[in-house]
Symmetry: D2
Subunit: 347 residues, 4 copies
């Protein structure tokens, strides 16, 4: 059980509660949490006198099992938080933001070519891995800092916001010095050290759902980031691991409207990893927008059949243009616009 | 391995192949299958001389593992099969057909009331269980034939096509005498006897995907029906069982575009069972249409909080009207119309 | 909510409760259930006066969600029910019973040969499918009644109890006229009609867990059988469908001790389907016995590489002999004997 | 595709292959891997002339998809690697090693008490978390270095090997300075940085399977560790996430014999997390040993109902003694001894 103390609760109030817990023989722990004092009662709390605690004026709330406070704060009528990517584009407003690019950064020329293509088709961000989490230690692990440099160049040239993965807390500063948005991958959603580290810097965080994480764990991972002071978390559904065999993952889209009900955080969808097959990317992108997603993360490669990884799920620039064209009417049917960046340009 | 013989293959041709298999020491079995002769080679077929078999003029095709023939026949450019429900409505054309109604038939007055309401909101069919598969033998199992009678009355009064579940082969004739479409439920998707039985009658079959069936098994279940002579199978995705806890099932929508690629059968989506929560039904309905579904199956109850089963996922008539209104622009964005029945009436 | 009335509750007592429910405006339904009268309250029962109902002398118990009554009746100290298979062998006592044989009945000579072999190695029952549930309608579906005849012959010749699957309620009488134990397969665990049908005849039922059934659903399926009057249900864990790829199914052995805690029904394990690989059958058989299983169901084929189905998981007679020899010390370590039948013979 | 070059392949041989790849237009990358040179061909390798590569004398082997080399090297007849924990105990020989202790280190007195108790019951190692991965940032995250100090004291006093989790690469040196075995938890199995970091130090690594990792990913995670030079990896099955609801995880024991077939690494089982329920720990421990596990990892707490986490799955010292007593005969039935440490003492 957690006792959330009232804001600006005086120290002697905390002391009184602590004394009471000691008298009851309850192990406990006091911690400060962004202005709130929180007292955690350790072990079985069943023997405690809840009435006493509930009536105690300095106690704001008893929380039976730890639950998210910052990441699940949506009240009916609230808007989704609008998060700035780089200089101009946003995710979370009425516009729908699409981030596209190759699985991994391969060469500068290929990257510039694909960046120009996705920009022209309406993307607001460029994705691309410089640090790649791979199942095998013998597979290509990314170009590292050289890859980050290339991404920054592509960002400068096109104005696209740069979204790239950071895999361990030691690299956060490095990646943040090049990228506009730090991605935490599906494999690392449970790495609390990494979550805290990206929470201690100021760039927005793109947090992918672990492929077998529950919704509670997903939201709690965002809470780890936000608790450190960074409120700008973009959630991303990328498919879960199930018994299905014809897809790489099962894209579990109901998470989109459910997140909208619980949280003010924006949520986008990655239909590339979420299906693993090129021909499923466009229809699932339409479905994602139709159920309320704030954006998409899509793999695009200049020559998909030559991609160093994830070849089967990458779109060619032409296929990506087709996808974007098909999204326009769906976005409009949902009362939204597809690519606010283009609108700005049109002015 | 299966040897699909050519149509109108003469008997002496079959005999020649059989003789050859005997000489090779291969266990086998000859069967007739809607005009085709099929020879199944039992056990390990690796020692066989494939070249001999492939060159044999009466052999049309060698099929290494049993695969669907009738249910997975789509060629690029093919249209989805348009299936007539009752007298006028169809599923599978450019129109999108919505079937709605209560989980189970409870009383005639409630049924007539809800039927009128869903008809007015644009549904083309009325769903309602007279035979209910329930986890507990002590739970309400449906009204049986009395429920079928009520459904038929509601169909007559409203012109809606009646869709209702049949749970065992012994009931097929009875249910078919009242209903316009026979539903095979998720729990029974693997019951090959039931599949064959609904395949031997002429009314369309609504086949729900087993909650842990692979796509291959789903399509193969349709093949069981079609093999008996009934080509009118409407597939229905209704969610799969995964580790997710906040939903009753995980709605796995990628199956919609994948079925469209492999099969000419129409596919609809049941977002009521597919999520288990009222507030997720409308957004997931939009997502289903956006990725290509040919229709929806939705639980609507006059007074959801009083429903005898599935109360948490049933919409009120008013909520259903809202859902239908929200679908119109999505359907249009996909180049389709929502409720062709209304169009006809408007003439 | 279900009201379980006291045994021998007088009719006027039932009437009194019904009248009360009517006054409260609660939809309900009265049913007889093996001597008990049960009143089901339909829909939301929250507005009801529970105190009145609990105090009512003819009401035995209020059951909030339907739960098993007959199949989950174990009290601490209770023994597992010992069920007679055929004339002499039992499952559920201190002895451990192994049922072995081919996936499907193929020819009489092969069947007699394998029957003799498994008998000699210590099996108490012979398994073999005459009706086979197959994913494809073009795969071998079993020999039907001819297969049943062969099984009966093999049973007569060896004294082994015959265990074979029945796939639809219409075949129950036929299969029961040949077999000693009726098996309900994993695909059909949810077919309530079939469960009720095998519950209305007197031979023991071997009930396999559905590959994605929860434990509650599994026990409830046994309840469907027992409610009709047949208490002799042998449960069988055969693996569940998960994301694991190197096995055909994930053998979920914890179900064995959990069933022992909740139910007096015996439970056996099928490591052949539960793993799908020959080399895993023996170690998982040992594990099953070590955690308390009352027996095993194992696929054995005279020449596994020629088996008409499930070739990869079938043992040869010699491998089966090895498995049985390895089980003896494990059974003893658990205070049990492996094959009581042999002990009896030795007298 | 990966080209594994022969050991001591001369540089001009590598150059020749690289030149050939360039001529074929194949993107590639050369890397050194513990003495081997490895050339990775990036992207689609289908157009390559495999025959040329296979005949090339400096190429040892073509590996189509990246596969484990060091962690999956078992040949028939090979023994499991015996790994020394601390000074005397081993895991992987004929003896079976049990590591027990509390979920998290709470106070020194409780830790010393439980350490003495598990030692006396036959454990060879003491587990206890100083860094705890928790779903919520508001839950107790462990005592950190203070907890490590307490563990070291308990180890000194009892002679038990200390097993404790390390959660990020930055803490590896610290944890290794106190512990005898470094545990990588289920949540972190995919964190390749952490895997590499524990691979660069010399203490044995206890690697828990990710709760939704495939077997291939599990073995590949061990490969990440071994590739850095640390061959002493102890694998640990701790249950996977499935649709099952009555257990915290589904203990998937078939992984034990399968690992034995593929790898020389020892594998132990954690039935505490693998079931989540105290009453299932003992039966599943027996099952684990019966199918070949080299040891167990078990949660024991002086007063389970007061445990700061995982209360429901912790055993009391008395329950743990009972469990150990019940394992003896099973171990013997498998031709092994339960606690070699005791044997040594008995001399």
């Amino acid at each position: 059980m957690i006792l959330l103390m009232k804001r600006r609760c005086p120290e002697h109030g905390v002391d009184r509660v602590v004394r009471h817990l000691k008298e009851m023989g309850a192990d406990h722990r006091v911690l400060e949490n962004s202005g709130h004092t929180v007292i955690e009662v350790l072990g079985d709390a069943e023997s405690l006198d809840r009435t006493w605690l509930e009536r105690e004026p300095v106690v704001d709330r008893l929380i039976d099992e730890a639950e998210p406070i910052l990441a699940a704060d949506r009240q009916p009528g609230d808007c989704t938080r609008e998060i700035l990517l780089g200089d101009s584009a946003t995710i979370g407003g009425t516009g729908i933001g699409v981030v596209a690019g190759p699985c991994s950064v391969e060469t500068l020329s290929r990257l510039l070519e694909v960046a120009a293509a996705v920009k022209e088709a309406g993307a607001v961000g460029l994705r691309g891995g410089a640090f790649k989490p791979r199942t095998s230690p013998y597979s290509f692990q990314g170009l590292g800092e050289r890859g980050l440099e290339m991404l920054a160049m592509a960002g400068e040239e096109t104005g696209l916001a740069i979204v790239t993965e950071v895999m361990c807390s030691g690299d956060v500063e490095l990646v943040a010095s090049y990228a506009d948005v730090l991605q935490v991958g599906s494999r690392n959603m449970h790495c609390t050290n990494l979550l805290a580290a990206v929470g201690r810097q100021s760039k927005p965080v793109l947090l992918k759902r672990g492929w077998s994480a529950t919704l509670e764990e997903f939201i709690m991972a965002a809470e780890y980031v936000m608790k450190e002071g960074n409120p700008n978390v973009i959630l991303c559904e990328r498919g879960i691991r199930t018994h299905e065999e014809y897809v790489r993952n099962t894209l579990a889209l109901a998470v989109v409207p459910e997140v909208k009900r619980r949280s003010r955080l924006p949520i986008i969808v990655d239909p590339s990893h979420g299906t693993g097959h090129r021909h499923l990317v466009a229809p699932m992108s339409r479905a994602a927008i139709a159920c309320g997603a704030d954006g998409l993360l899509i793999e695009v490669h200049i020559a998909p059949e030559r991609a160093w990884c994830d070849a089967g799920q990458s779109l060619s620039p032409e296929q990506f243009r087709g996808l974007m064209a098909g999204l326009d009417p769906i976005a409009e049917a949902c009362g939204r616009q597809l690519h606010p960046a283009r609108v700005t340009e049109a002015v």
